[in-house]
Structures are given as structure tokens and as C-alpha cells.
Amino acid sequence: MVPEYLISALVYASLFAMMAMGLTLTYMTTKVPNFAYGSFVTLGIYSSYTAVKVYGSNPYIGGALGFVVGALVSALMYLGILRPLARRGSSLVSLMIATFGVDIGFIGVFGVYTDYLQYNLGHIDSPQFYALPDFSLWGYSGVTFAAPLSVVAIVLGIYLLFTRTKFGVAMRAAVENPPLARVLGINVDMVTTVSWMLAGGFAGYAGALLTLQLPAGTATGSNLIVEIFSSSVLGGLTSIFGAAVRGLIIGGSEILVTLGLGLGFGTPGAVVIGVVFLFGGILLIRSKRLRSKVVGIIFAGFGVWIVADMVAGFPVDFMSYELVNGFGPNVTPFQQAIPLLIMVVTLMVIPQGIFSINFRRLLGRERK
């Protein structure tokens, strides 16, 4: 029997991988970080809720619904708001503020919808609800299989799309060099719209799956934005497979590190180890040799993890957090420190993401 925390880490990681891939897609095509992206996860959450609780259907049909709703709303957001603004010549910051505004709009939309569910249909738990029922297979819940399999399917699908289809190649061209792609007769607008649709769809689907594992509510997606950004940034905002890998790492590390390390070392030992690693890592990063720099990054990251684990040891009000934020008891609130610290360290040290490190040179196979 696989321990419970490993399973939740696996599911969590898979969900983040999907979300990170979506955000990276939009960033690659439009070069604007979408601050409203968390709300697309919430769209999926309520698609699933509606399918299961209102229409009494299967949560996986809710997942499909989440994909469709997310994709449609995302396309609408791009075509209705971002594209007109960009054509008008708005700056990057203006577009960022606009996506921020869209996020606020979503708060209103979710509020109206949950009020409708509450007062008109009598679903009093709609603003905050516990994990939805799932089927079980060999003693594990269905989402344990569904989430990782979906990630594999999506990665495979995108790989095939990018390498085997004309449209995918056009997409890559449009990302690399939009003016040149236009000259070659590629409809860049169309490509961008499709990538926004895919992004919204991934977020919606991930949100729908999330309802099977964790309690969720109107603020859940919006609160996940730290992890989503962190996963995307770490993958390098320009690499979609990097996003998938980092999403897996972030999601997994959040749960495994906070739970695992605390059990292994005990608090005082963990502090000492963490601080030693952190300082050693910083010293190494400052050195001139690239190899020791990277070892330093790994050491510092490890130290930060352990220190963050200490942070997670602070007195924690589990119940209220669970109700307010919609996370399960397995998830300590301070675990958000881990993706955040990872994001800070990456942005400061390797702003292009892990895929930008020249691993050959690191291994010493290639001389300067």
C-alpha cells in the first residue's frame, strides 16, 4: 500500500503540471503573464461541482465540461479584452493590469453563481465544499490514476502536435517570430487564440480534477497563483515541457518536503542542517566556476526547503485554514513558502529556467 502523502503529492504535482503548461502556453504566445489564470482553475472547479451536485453526473464528465468552459472563457478573454487592448497599443504593464482586472471580475461572477446555487437551487455548500465523491480502483481513488495519466496524455499530445502536425509547426513558428510567421502566411491570431483555448482548457480540467482530491471553493484557484507562477517561471516561461517538469517538482516537493523532512530530522536538527546547506550553497553560488555555482544552487535550494519546513512547524490553525482556503489537512498552509522561495531563487539565479542551464558544460564534457 502506497502511503497517503505520496498519493496526494502525485496528484497535486500532476495538477500543477497541467496548470503550468497552460500558463506557459499563453505566456509564450502573448508574452503577458495572466494574473487571472487561477480563476480558470476555479471555473473548472465549479464546472465539476455543477455536473456532480446539480446534474448528478460523473465527475469526469465534469472534467470534460471544465475543459470546454475554461477553453471558451479563455478564448473570450483573449479575443474580447486582451487583443483589442494590444491592438490599441497598450503597454505590457497595462495588459497585466487588465488581466488583474479580469480576475476581480471573476470574483464577482463566481459570487453570483454560488449565490444562484445557494438561494435558487438550495446547494448551501457551494461557496466552500468538500472533495467530491470519486470511484475507487484497487483501493485507490480514481483521481490517483486520472491525474498523472492526463498529464502524460497532454504532454504526448502537445509533443505530437508540435512535431507531427502542420498546425503545431505553425504554432511554434508564430511563437518564435510572429512577423516572419505572418509573412509565411500563418494566421498568428488564430494560433494565439488556440493556445489561449488550450491554456484555459488545461486549467479548467485541472480544477475539475482538483475537486476530487481536495475541498475547494470560490477562492481556491485564485490562491493557487503562487504555485502556478512558480512552476511556470521555473520551467522557464518559454518552455512548455519545462513547465510540465517543474509543475511536477513543485507540486511534489510541496507535500513531500513539508511532511517528509519534518518526520525525518526533528526540528532542531533540521534547522542546523538547513542553515548549513543554505550558507554553503550561497558561498558556492558566489564562486566563479559554473559547476560549483550549480551545486551551490542545489545546496541552497535544499537548505531553503529545510528552513521552510521549520516555517511549516509554526503553530498552525488547520481547521480554519481548511475551511477558508479549501486545502485538505495533509497540506500545511506554509507549504506555499516552498514554491515561493523556489521562484525567488530561480528568478534571481537562473531567470531563463532550468532548461537554460547547459548541462553538458556542467558535466565537464564540453570545455569553454
Binding site: 497563483i225 498552525v316 506555499q336
Partner: protein, 404 residues
């Protein structure tokens, strides 16, 4: 022992309406002005504004309560968080007889808030100097979101999910009748807002203000002219964050408590951005207009709410979010520069200019009849350039005129 008078026109008590209105207006003026210094003048999109405000409010409130309890000897060895309500009630009762301590508390809390805000601004300047706008936005938004989680779950500071009360320095006034306390709190807030406005207006009109715009518009040019862009950005973040943190501390005194759920990125990052966008990016007087318009929309909605609610199946509060979001998008589309455009920087006054140009309004012989002051200055500047063998754009234009 009577409270404030009532002034009722059109079914609204204008005294009761305008006190919270002005309080809110002043608060958001301060916050938006500080954001405008960062975003409008220097070009740092601070998407983590709430972090600095909440930091000031949390530390200011937490320190003020503990300090007051310690000085007044209230509570003894009792845990400040657990017995918070009892301790603060006792502190408030004692503060009535000690107005000096009440004033000191406000000042100390403001200082603590400014320190915390400045420190946070200093920390934020580290990424702000190194990252592009989009990465910086994501990072600050993430940090602010995490800080909210810290406030919610780290109980020793402000009680986590159980909010703590803050000693009420205006408590004496509440014994004089209903509404008097709020009036005094409002006056303090307004005075603070005026001070901040005057200070920031001085800053942006100074040579430093012009440097900030230069950094925003063309980093390389300002660096070429010998300006230390990084240092300037850092200073701006520290000062603006300290101001925002002080506003947060004043706000916590005004409402009498610090709670984690007050500090959402919507109310304290989005709304200030909205005000700056409505009023005018890079324009302090525009902020006054924008904040007024925004407050009017928000408070107006509150007034209309009870009349609207019976006809709508959902909570009318949600309309506020939808309305503000659409307002932002429409503003960005129709008039991204705001209601009042950014003005060109303020130059020297006429007297000083006259001295530089060597004339005091009257003719000095070297000007053509009917020539305006500006053209005179430009001609003198042109002759200066000619002496140094520098070609001015006007020279080139004239030369091309002659040849063409």
C-alpha cells in the same frame, strides 16, 4: 452628551454619509499616491502593494497594543493574543485619562509601520532592480499572497484567524457622543493625506522627480546623464512602501482591529491601480480626482444596495467587483492615460527664468519685437550651443531650409 447633528436631504444623512466617505477617500489617496510614485513616475509596477500596507498595519497594530498594555501595566503575565479583547478594553479605558500616551501610541505605531514598510520596500527593491516587469509582477504578487497566508496562520503576531484588537487612541472622543470619534479619526486621516500629497508633489516637482520620469521613459539616457537608476528605484520603493505602511497602520487604528482577511490583493492592490488608471498615470492631482470618482462609485453602490437587493437573487456586493473590473477595462481601452493627462514637468517660475534670460519682461535690445519669452530662451540656448560648435535641431532645420 450629544453626538454629531444630523443633516438629512433626499433621505440620506449627509453627516453620517460623508465621514466614512472622507475617511475612505483620504486613505485611498495616500495609498494611490504612493503607488503612483512607484508605478506612475518611476515605472515600477508594484503588484504586491497589499504586502506593504498589511505589513505596516500588522506590525504597527501588534506593537501598539503590546506597548500600551506594557506601559499601562494591563494584563500582567497573561498571553496578549489569548486575552486580547479583555486587555485592549482595559487599555482603552485607561487611555481616556492619558491623552499624551494615546498620541504617543499613534506616533510610535506610525514609526514602526514606516520602518517595517521601508524594510519591506528595501527587500522588494532587490528583485525590482533586476527583473523585467512581467517577472517582477508575478514575484511581488506571489510574495504578497504568501504574506496573507502568514498573517492568517502565524498566530503570535496578529492572532491569525482570530483577529486582535488595536488600542483606540480616539477612545476619549467616543465618550462625547456618537460619531465624534469617527470625525476625529477622519481629521487625522485627512491631515495625513494632505501631508503626503504635499510631500510627494514636492518630490515630483524637484529635479529628482524629473530624474524619476527619465528613468521610466529612457533608462539608458538617464544612466548616460550620470543618474544612478538602481539607487533611485530603491529609494522610491522604500519611501513609497513606508508611506503605504503608515496608511495601513492608521487604518488599523481607525477600524480598531487588525484582521488577516482585510488584506486581500483585490482591495489593496487592484483598487489603487484602478484609481491610478482612472485618475492619471504619473499625475498626483489626477489621483485626487480618480480616488474621488472611485469612492463615489463604491459608496454610491452601498447607498443603492438596500433598494436594489429585493429585486436581485444574488448579493449586490458582487456587482461591485463586476462593475470595477469593467470600469478598469473600459478605462484602459478608451483613455489609458487617465482623466487628467500627465503634464510636462514643472519648470522654474517666471522671475527666475527672467533672470536667466537676462531680461525682466522689458526689452534688452537683443530680441526681435513681439518675441515671446519662450522663443527668446530657445534662441539664447541656441546661441550658447553655437558658441560650443554644437548643432541644435533648429540649426539643422534652418540649414536644410537654406539648401532646400
Amino acid at each position: 452628551m450629544s453626538g454629531l447633528p444630523e443633516l438629512i436631504f433626499f433621505g440620506i444623512d449627509w453627516v453620517a454619509f460623508s465621514i466614512p466617505f472622507i475617511e475612505f477617500y483620504a486613505l485611498y489617496i495616500v495609498i494611490s499616491l504612493s503607488l503612483n510614485l512607484e508605478f506612475g513616475y518611476t515605472g515600477i509596477p508594484n503588484f504586491g502593494k497589499v504586502l506593504f500596507i498589511a505589513g505596516g498595519a500588522a506590525f504597527g497594530g501588534a506593537v501598539a497594543g503590546r506597548l500600551a498594555a506594557y506601559i499601562l501595566g494591563v494584563g500582567g503575565n497573561e498571553d496578549f493574543i489569548t486575552f486580547n479583547a479583555r486587555i485592549i478594553t482595559q487599555v482603552n479605558a485607561d487611555l481616556v485619562n492619558d491623552p499624551v500616551l494615546a498620541i504617543e501610541l499613534v506616533v510610535i505605531a506610525l514609526l514602526v509601520a514606516a520602518l517595517v514598510g521601508g524594510l519591506l520596500g528595501f527587500l522588494a527593491s532587490y528583485p525590482a532592480l533586476r527583473l523585467r516587469e512581467d517577472y517582477l509582477g508575478m514575484l511581488l504578487l506571489g510574495v504578497a499572497q504568501f504574506f496573507n497566508v502568514v498573517l492568517r496562520t502565524y498566530t503570535p503576531l496578529i492572532g491569525g484567524s482570530q483577529p486582535i484588537f488595536v488600542p483606540d487612541p480616539y477612545y476619549y472622543w467616543s465618550t462625547l457622543g456618537s460619531g465624534v470619534r469617527d470625525l476625529i479619526a477622519m481629521i487625522v486621516m485627512v491631515v495625513f493625506a494632505i501631508a503626503v500629497y504635499v510631500f510627494l508633489e514636492k518630490v515630483v516637482r524637484s529635479p529628482m522627480g524629473r530624474t524619476l520620469r527619465a528613468i521610466r521613459d529612457n533608462e539608458d539616457a538617464s544612466a548616460a546623464l550620470g543618474k544612478d537608476n538602481a539607487k533611485m528605484r530603491q529609494n522610491v520603493l522604500i519611501v513609497a512602501s513606508a508611506i503605504a505602511a503608515m496608511a495601513g497602520a492608521l487604518y488599523s487604528f481607525q477600524v480598531g482591529s487588525v484582521e488577516y482577511d482585510t488584506w486581500t490583493r483585490f482591495a489593496w492592490t487592484f483598487w489603487p491601480f484602478l484609481i491610478v488608471i482612472i485618475g492619471g498615470v504619473g499625475n498626483n492631482s489626477g489621483i485626487l480626482v480618480g480616488a474621488f470618482f472611485f469612492t463615489l462609485v463604491l459608496r454610491g453602490l452601498e447607498q443603492v444596495q438596500p433598494y436594489l437587493q429585493p429585486y436581485i437573487f444574488f448579493n449586490v456586493n458582487w456587482l461591485q467587483d463586476l462593475l470595477l473590473a469593467s470600469l478598469l477595462i473600459i478605462m484602459l481601452y478608451l483613455r489609458p492615460e487617465g482623466i487628467i493627462r500627465e503634464k510636462s514637468s514643472h519648470t522654474l517660475n517666471k522671475g527666475v527664468l527672467g533672470k536667466i534670460t537676462g531680461s525682466k519682461g522689458g526689452g534688452k535690445g537683443d530680441e526681435a519685437p513681439g518675441e515671446g519669452r519662450l522663443s527668446r530662451i530657445s534662441r539664447r540656448l541656441a546661441s550658447l550651443f553655437q558658441r560650443r560648435n554644437v548643432q541644435t535641431p533648429t540649426d539643422q532645420a534652418e540649414a536644410s531650409k537654406k539648401t532646400g
